[in-house]
Amino acid sequence: MFQSLSERLSGVLDKLTRRGSLSEADVTEAMREVRRALLEADVALEVVKDFTDKVKAKAVGQNVIKSVSPGQMVIKIVNDELVAMLGSDAAPIDLVATPPVAILMVGLQGSGKTTTTAKIAYRLTNRDKKRVLMASLDTRRPAAQEQLRVLGEQTQVETLPIIAGQQPLAIASRAMEAARLGGFDVILLDTAGRTTIDEALMAEVAAIKTATNPHETLLVADALTGQDAVNTAKAFESRLGVTGIVLTRVDGDGRGGAALSMRAVTGRPIKLIGVGEKWDALEDFHPDRIANRILGMGDIVSLVEKAAANIDADQAAKMAAKMQKGGFDLQDLADQIKQMEKLGGMGGIMGMMPGVAKMKSAMASMPDGEKMLKRQHAIIMSMTTKERRLPKILDGKRKRRIAAGSGTKVEEVNKLLKQHRDMADMMKAMGKNKGLMGKMAGMMGLGGPSAGMGGPPGGGSLPAGITPEMLEQLKKGEMPKGMPQMPSSGGMPKLPGLGGGGLPGLGGARFPGLPGLPAKKK
């Protein structure tokens, strides 16, 4: 799956990377070819349009990153949009509910529901050690119930005994009852295939869903599906509310567009893919890996990530030098706040940085975190340049003026000043410790292109004194062992809530940071 799409896309995008500069027309042309490639891969037209529009819009708002060609930048954007379209995290089947947990399998005729039912049962039984019961509610296709019974024998999973002439809804109730009485963990309900415009059959499956209250309702769809994928997915989603999608026949050389379309129009994750006729030919779906496979341009993507990290590392390096001298003034604090705001406000380049995503979500989950930053920034912006450089001169009169100018209270101004003092003191203390500051400055971008986080550990160009191990620890948000301890005076301001965050450009290293952010409970 995705092979031909991958070939087409890399062909289109390769051309872009070879150009020194790009015009809008170049991008438009590239997007036309991307559209073509996606359509040929059976991605639904509306999804394709949405995709190319988004990529174009992102490209328009994009900043220049040095050492990255415009084409590479576009590839990164395409990659990110692909990941967004596929969903970023794998979503396994969820069994966290009171047993017996019902899983309802639905889909068109011939999509592979019965085989998939048996594969899931096989996996849950053997890998997850669950007690599983399967029941076929397919009274329409000749020998469908018999088929599931045989599959049960082959996979050694119990099946509900067949009662000839019983209707689907009655079978469903009997299955639930049997699962309860038999102490099963999971009950898999295989249903007959149906077209979405067959109202009677859609009503039937809706009634089955109501009666069995399944924890998962899985839409089983053929990876070879064309444009109809959107109709089918939308219809099942709106009528039943599916919880996930299983794609079958992914081992065929279909182009896999259905995966992109269905996920995009329903927002439901692709949970599993069927990759063969054997019982264990069922795999988890990893969107990020798939996106990478589709694009086949992992190196360019990480190159852009690194370069993006380095931009901010440059700024960070300047900052570090200043701190070393103990000259961290209010203007610097304002710059820091701006940086933080950028993170919260979803910036193009910043958003790409490794580790920043985490930080962003931490910010997002802090009520008023962003508002707080804005107020603090406003306070500083209401100061004169001189006041920012020399906070000492701020007397009561000046503070009242600043408070009025920024629409805050004098107490808030005081609080900010106190926090700034604490930070500056701590930095001075750190600055005396030449070893640590030197190393930090080194990390902050003085070590060449691959010094930024995300660079290959041990890639050879790490700043002197920083071992790959240290880098790893820094990424995890800890001060590396072997580095001098930071002073932990009582007044040391923490950067609460920003779990894995830190100074932009440090990709997750903890940094004595911003005051005033409300603490967030872990």
Binding site: G20, V60, A144, T195, D198, L224, G226, Q227
Partner: protein
């Protein structure tokens, strides 16, 4: 930190690389019309019944006028309309290449001729129909071979077995005797499924053991069909993806074995195509034709939302006859392939 300059458009900042490329700002969509509409609605005082009635009537007549002027204001086919039509075709799975070719042909044939919006879809349908008409050919079973051997192939779940049941039913209704070979010895209960169809249609079903060699079974069934004087032998096969070498080899073997009894057999090889299939269907045709000597097509599941437009691309590229279409799961849900109707569905008429 230096003052960040106001963000400009990409082409200026990212792609211009310092050159004076004019900055193109992404147009911010301003839902103006919408906003005013809402505002007006909100400001409007409650209407009395007469006002409501007249405004309702006004709306209706406006619509009528629109429709009538639409008919009379013919205009030349413009690029925008053509792009729209191309989209319609793409959404029916014709594939971008075939869609472009058809809209281009439409534009050419209609060059300098005016066309009303109402006509556009009909013209599109006509253009599609042109491609399909030559391939609309029924499956002819003359009495030249006894039995006339029809082998049915395709990917998993496409509708092979069901189509066999429907075909058998039709031949039986014509008074012919039919034997079916349960050649899917792989899938669970495939044999039982076919036996049900045998009961429904009065066709004789020859089956072996699950897991038995499919070619051996086909050979046996052929012999039995001869012995019992059947007019027609239909061989069911297990579904297989065309990229599985071993399974395609197995299919070749089934054919080789039937040729031992009649060098001309199988007389027809039907490829069953699922209407929901996208561009992969082209490859299915290509590979099954090469490996199994496909002579004709049946498209199934046209009773759903899929329009099966890939058939147009297949017709254009391979010219293989389309013998019938499946329009449901019932025994009578097999219809002759009607290119006109098919084309109109594709054009969403």
């Amino acid at each position: 930190m230096t003052e960040t300059p106001k963000k400009s458009g990409i082409m200026g900042r990212l792609f211009g690389r310092g050159t004076a490329t004019p900055v193109v700002e992404a147009p911010t969509p301003v839902p103006q019309a919408h906003a005013t509409e809402v505002a007006v609605a909100a400001a409007e005082p409650r209407k009395n019944w007469l006002q409501r009635l007249t405004s309702g009537l006004a709306k209706t007549s406006a619509k009528l006028t629109e429709g009538i002027t639409g008919i009379f204001t013919k205009r030349k086919l413009d690029a925008e309309t053509l792009a729209e039509l191309e989209d319609v075709l793409i959404q029916a799975d014709l594939g971008i290449e075939t869609a472009t070719r058809i809209t281009a042909a439409l534009a050419k044939n209609r060059l300098d001729k005016s066309i009303s919006p109402e006509e556009v879809r009909a013209v599109l349908a006509a253009e599609v129909e042109k491609v399909l008409t030559p391939v609309a050919r029924p499956l002819i079973v003359n009495g030249n071979h006894k039995p006339h051997v029809i082998m049915v192939v395709g990917v998993n779940g496409g509708g092979k077995t069901t189509t066999i049941g429907k075909l058998a039913s039709r031949y039986r209704a014509e008074g012919r005797s039919v034997t079916i070979a349960a050649g899917d010895t792989f899938r669970a209960a495939a044999i039982d499924q076919l036996k049900v169809w045998g009961e429904r249609t009065g066709a004789k079903v020859v089956s072996g053991k699950v897991g038995a060699d499919a070619s051996g079974l086909a050979f046996d069934a052929f012999k039995q069909a001869r012995e019992n004087g059947s007019d027609i032998l239909i061989i069911d096969t297990a579904g297989r993806l065309q990229n599985k070498q071993a399974l395609m080899d197995e299919l070749e073997k089934v054919i080789r074995v039937t040729r031992k009894l009649d060098p001309a057999a199988p007389h027809d090889v039907l490829l069953v195509l699922d209407a929901t299939t996208g561009q992969n269907a082209l490859n299915q045709v290509e590979v099954f034709r090469e490996r199994a000597g496909v002579t004709g097509l049946v498209m199934t599941k046209l009773d759903g939302t899929a329009r099966g437009g890939i058939l147009v691309a297949i017709a254009a590229k391979y010219g293989l006859p389309v013998h019938a279409v499946g329009v449901g799961e019932g025994i009578d849900d097999l219809a002759a392939f009607d290119p006109g109707e098919f084309a109109r569905t594709i054009a969403q008429l």
